[in-house]
Subunit: 223 residues, 2 copies
Amino acid sequence: MPQIIIADDHPMVRGALTLAVEAAFDQPEILECAHLGAVMQLLESIGAADLLLLDLRMPGVDGFEGLVRVRSQFPATPVVVISALEDPRLVREALALGAMGFIPKSTPRAEIVAALSLVAGGGTYRPDDLAMSAPPPDPKGQATDDDFLQRVLTLTPQQRRVLQLLGTGKLNKEIAYDLDIAETTVKAHVSSILHKLRVYSRTQAVVMAGRLHLDSFADVAEG
Amino acid sequence: MPQIIIADDHPMVRGALTLAVEAAFDQPEILECAHLGAVMQLLESIGAADLLLLDLRMPGVDGFEGLVRVRSQFPATPVVVISALEDPRLVREALALGAMGFIPKSTPRAEIVAALSLVAGGGTYRPDDLAMSAPPPDPKGQATDDDFLQRVLTLTPQQRRVLQLLGTGKLNKEIAYDLDIAETTVKAHVSSILHKLRVYSRTQAVVMAGRLHLDSFADVAEG
DNA sequence: GTGCCAATTGTACTTTGGTACAAGGGTGGT
DNA sequence: ACCACCCTTGTACCAAAGTACAATTGGCAC
């Protein structure tokens, strides 16, 4: 009996997704969450789910922060991103961040079902019209956010946990206490993180990683 | 002949503001900019302007980043924020960040003229209906962004420049090179900054300061 | 089993980061 | 002139950060 979490702050959306999930899986146990906190709490209690349908925008979480946090803390749980937007950049970034799929809310129900089955089978899904749109290679030699994302994905789960705590400005000593490991170990992780991310100080790592969370600039009309 | 910079990416808005400026000042020299880069470049060449009308949202700059950068680099130039939004929180935050006024685009022309005169005379302007709405005191003992803003404002101009470079993840050595001062001096500034901001490491300072730039969450419909 | 890798820890070392104290030059106000 | 404040720099010292090398444990795959 597969455990499937549906996380969206809009009850109507959860209802629609529930139908799709019930059509795609055999006797699924569906767990609904209205905000990210509930998702994290739920995952902590059950360890891992068989699938997480995660809305990009929920109370208290802007862009990819939720995705990043879930992927960091619970890398074993496959995540499919649900979103009202379908900007190709968003799709690419979500997948680069480890999402197993990206389903716009405008997707027909039949296709949602197919998408969920695809992901359940180990595949990754993205909207049809984007399937072939290869990510445009960056002509400039400068490091881009996408490059950085790829590097973040090479971090091990524990290293991501360390990175997350780095992002709060904690000292190695504090991180060690939080994760209940030796400060030496933290240093080892940090050192490895810096190499993988190709930066020379924790502060730079924090600055770079900080961008990822809030770069889901859903263009607002005009300010 | 007062030099006044009008920075807004929308030509129509610049035109309207030009009229207001011409009504409020005697023979003003009006300099128009369509994006923040032009503003910074202009200020660097002329050193300081008598007034800067700055749109919150311009190409390449989301929320208060532009305001922060101008205030940091050119603290002598008074800034009046122009915005389509008029959320009281935005108004308070803009003023807390050192803006001398906040003018919603919906403001009647006559009032804009009055507001500009007010600021030119050393006063600060905010929309009428907000004049009396005191910032709600925080009941919780926790440190808030507003607290932090107040502390950032106690930094000296040079210290803000250092903080800004800290925010890019640079080493003290690099900051020293950029500002053409000794590393010892940078350390002195950093040390003072940490005390004023009440944090214990540069990374924490960067994390805290990082929030200010992007917290202008102009609520998007639904993602 | 063998091999690979994540995770852990230790020792020892170098480099940054940060504090404390002292001091000279500049600006602006009283 | 005097004071306050900013900016600058130096010396000296301590703490934190980061590197390098080596070693053990445990899980997972072939």
